[in-house]
């Protein structure tokens, strides 16, 4: 039996090459997820939300409203309904995400000052299309209102020059800096793709170590490392680190170069962040394995945390809006720091000074396994498989 660092390294490489499950975990699954998420949301926004129009009035004005609504970029008036019930049924069947209702005698009431009510309904069980429809419907309704107000004012003698600025005397426009088009892929891919990587690193690290204990080969591993657990683990995990680094660098270029998501900062810090992220995830996985040195338990916890990370790391719902007792858990997840560094260094491109603490967090994750390394050694020396 050969011993030493090189021998363990070679053994670890062979294990990866011989088991197809590693090919899937290292390459097929992560790369598929990268490709899937960016490709799915390639268009940036789900334009052309299917919607319906209920025109109970049928006057020239109501037809004008319909036309201007149909001309809006975000909406696709696929259905023409005669009643609320009909439109509601279409919504329940999933054919439309909302509808716009013009009441009977709308034009007549409006010009007579009887204040007819325009109502629009949006299906908020689907957030993105619902919100887009809300925006479009509201804009259309306000344009209509402004147009009517102008007609009324002009009819009583005001000139167009006087009236126009009055329609919107205060114009407060909200701009999303660095993502003005509100590209949805930028929001989701930059957070979800690293989170997929974290999940796979956690699972593979725990899986590969747990295998040693399950099949009783960990004793040989320790013997090869001359009884040094540090040497055994470093040599065992180094081939994985190298593969993950390659994947992480690919991920970085996939996001910011190939897909062209906003990158306003320095490549140095983002690259450093991705490399440290891999080590932090491995460190976190080693820590979990040290606490629960059992193949199934460590994998269960990794899977639970890995999947919960997609929500608890606050990619869509901000931490400060969560319950305090829940929100603190976002800070124990490596991918949260990857996300924060991405926001600072890539999206906003601010000075690295503001992100210094996030980098320190990575280092803490790397040091974390040292607290429980004795437990890994104990279990590797006396491997017991508990199903």
């Amino acid at each position: 039996m050969k011993s030493g660092f090189i021998a363990i390294f070679r053994r670890s490489v062979l294990q990866i090459v011989r088991r197809p499950i590693y090919w899937a975990a290292f390459f097929i699954l992560p790369l598929f997820c990268f490709m899937f998420l960016s490709n799915l949301m390639e268009d940036g926004l789900p334009l052309k939300v299917p919607a319906a129009m209920i025109d109970k009035d049928g006057s020239s004005l109501s037809r004008e409203v319909t036309q201007s609504l149909a001309g809006m970029q975000l909406v696709d008036l696929t259905e023409d309904c005669n009643s609320y019930t009909e439109a509601r049924h279409l919504m329940q069947e999933g054919k439309i995400f909302g509808f716009f209702m013009i009441p009977e005698n709308f034009q007549q009431d409006l010009l007579a000052g009887r204040k007819p009510v325009i109502t629009f309904y949006t299906n908020m069980t689907y957030y993105v299309p619902g919100s887009l429809l809300f925006k479009t419907f509201k804009t259309t309704a306000l344009y209509t209102k402004a147009g009517v107000a102008m007609t009324v004012l002009e009819s009583v003698g005001a000139t167009a020059n006087e009236v126009t600025p009055l329609m919107l005397p205060i114009n407060l426009s909200a701009r999303a800096i660095h993502n003005p088009g509100l590209n949805y892929a930028v929001y989701l891919c930059n957070s979800f793709i690293p989170c997929v990587l974290q999940l796979m690193i956690l699972l593979v690290t725990c899986f590969s170590l747990g295998q040693e204990i399950k099949y009783g080969t960990s004793r040989k591993l320790l013997a090869m490392a001359d009884g040094s657990i540090l040497k055994a683990l470093t040599a065992k995990l180094l081939p994985q680190t190298i593969i993950w680094w390659v994947i992480a660098i690919f991920m970085e270029s996939w996001l910011f170069k190939i897909n062209g998501y906003p990158m306003h900062g320095s490549w140095l810090w983002i690259t450093l962040s991705e490399l440290m992220f891999v080590l932090a995830c491995q460190g976190f996985a080693l820590f979990l394995f040290g606490v629960l040195p059992n193949l199934r338990m460590s994998l269960s916890v990794s899977a639970l945390l890995g999947i919960l990370s997609f929500s608890i790391a606050a990619f869509s719902f901000p931490v400060e809006s969560m319950y305090g007792a829940i929100g603190i858990f976002s800070w124990i997840i490596p991918t949260r720091y990857n996300f924060l560094i991405y926001i600072d260094q890539a999206l906003n491109g601010i000075d690295v000074y503001y992100s210094r603490i996030w980098f320190v967090a990575y280092i803490i994750f790397m040091l974390l396994p040292f607290t429980f390394i004795w437990n890994i050694k104990k279990n590797m020396a006396k491997p017991v498989y508990a199903p």
């Binding site: 334009l47 000052g113 629009f120 999303a176």
Partner: protein, 407 residues
């Protein structure tokens, strides 16, 4: 004929009992069948339970310093969405606050803001929002639109008298009230939006994970799991049926809990009919179990199922159209999402549970689910018959492979 039926019923019963014993003794599978559907939805719902994003911090750079500019700041602060934490003397200071993560938006009011309004011109102000989170931006957008409109209407009414004294009789109050009615998720809450779909996804995934793990368990060393696959070989079909029935029996309580009690506890929309929903989900459960039987073809040991299947939850979440609607998917991804039981399950469940649709209205999804159940069952039978069964009979397992390579 009668003995034929008797023989197979007996086999079915035997498999059913055997599986029950095996599963109850297997903590790993019980975790998937009991903890996952019972514990996971609670953790998940608690994360999003505050529902709305309120009081997001922002700072104001007021170059105008007039009563109107102060009124604008006050009104923004008074909205549910925004919270003005303070004034910054210039944009540089405001930027520093934003960079150090103290606020997420900056409102800049230019000099001459009030003067422009008084002169009868349009006055502009800008709200720069940090765009890392869509929900924060959405809140700021709502707040700024509402405030600008409300203040605009007030100014309009004041001004109209000066221009055309008679017009007030017409424009007094709101000329044409606009009303928005959010449907399904009436509070427009985030938890109520995402959780109903996630519940169905959890159901599908826990069935597939449990089935996959059970398949892996059958290929472990017999001494480890107390089951000798080589000697006991009832017909493939009866084995599948027996296992499926056994999982469904165990899952009965978790399913009722998932689709009735979780929404009840967290006050999610519940407009559907319970019996109709259960009926609707039956083919999805069968299709998921059949998908699990297909997965057994590549699960060679119990724990591989984690590595191979857990990440698919993310993919299925997106394929279901919950975040990125299905109408906007490319034909290829639409086809892929059509092939996932949870896609139809999530869609149908949301419409029935949140929008109050009846089973008849979801007939298309219901048919698609039965079609998927049929396709996956046939595929599962083939995989069980020609891949899984032969490998169990040969007694192949990873243990001997690892041992062989190690020596």
């Amino acid at each position: 004929m009668l003995s034929f039926i008797k023989k197979y019923t007996l086999q079915l019963f035997k498999v059913y009992c055997r599986e029950f014993k095996l599963i109850l003794g297997d903590v790993g599978i019980m975790l998937f069948l009991i903890f996952l559907p019972i514990g996971y939805p609670i953790i998940y719902s608690l994360i999003y339970n505050p529902e709305l994003v309120r009081d997001v911090k922002m700072v104001v750079v007021d170059h105008d310093r007039t009563s109107l500019s102060r009124e604008l700041t006050r009104n923004i602060d008074a909205t549910q969405e925004a919270w003005v934490i303070g004034y910054a003397s210039d944009m540089a200071e405001a930027r520093r606050a934003m960079d150090s993560h103290k606020c997420y938006a900056i409102m800049e009011i230019p000099e001459g803001f009030e003067r422009k309004v008084r002169e009868g011109n349009q006055a502009n102000a800008m709200l720069f929002c940090e765009s890392s989170l869509l929900l924060r931006y959405r809140g700021f957008l709502m707040a700024s639109t509402n405030v600008a409109q409300a203040m605009g209407a007030e100014i309009l009414n004041e001004k109209i008298n000066e221009i055309a004294p008679l017009a007030t009789t017409i424009t007094d109050g709101d000329l044409m009230p606009v009303m928005n009615v959010p449907m399904g998720n009436i509070e427009s809450g985030f938890d109520s939006f995402i959780m109903p779909g996630v519940l169905i996804l959890i159901l599908q995934q826990c069935i597939i994970l449990a089935t996959g793990m059970a398949g892996g368990a059958k290929r472990e060393r017999p001494s480890l799991i107390g089951y000798d696959g080589v000697n006991e070989q009832p017909s493939v079909l009866m084995t599948m049926l027996g296992q499926m029935l056994c999982y469904i029996t165990i899952l009965l309580v978790p399913i009722i809990y998932l689709i009735h009690y979780v929404p009840l506890m967290f006050a999610f929309p519940m407009a559907g009919n319970f019996v109709e929903i259960i009926t609707f989900l039956t083919p999805m459960i069968i299709a998921s179990a059949a998908m699990g039987f297909c997965l057994q073809g590549i699960v060679w040991e119990r724990e591989s199922v984690f590595v191979l299947w857990v990440v698919t939850s993310v993919v299925f979440l997106f394929l279901s159209g919950l975040t990125w609607p299905r109408y906007a998917m490319s034909p290829f991804w639409t086809f892929v999402s059509d092939a996932v039981p949870a896609t139809w399950g999530v869609e149908g469940f949301i419409r029935m549970n949140s929008n109050g649709a009846s089973l008849a209205q979801e007939a298309h999804d219901f048919k698609m689910l039965w079609l998927l159940a049929a396709i996956y069952s046939v595929a599962a039978y083939c995989i069980q018959r020609w891949v899984v069964r032969p490998s169990i009979v040969k007694g192949y397992n990873v243990y001997s492979k690892v041992r062989r390579e190690e020596i």
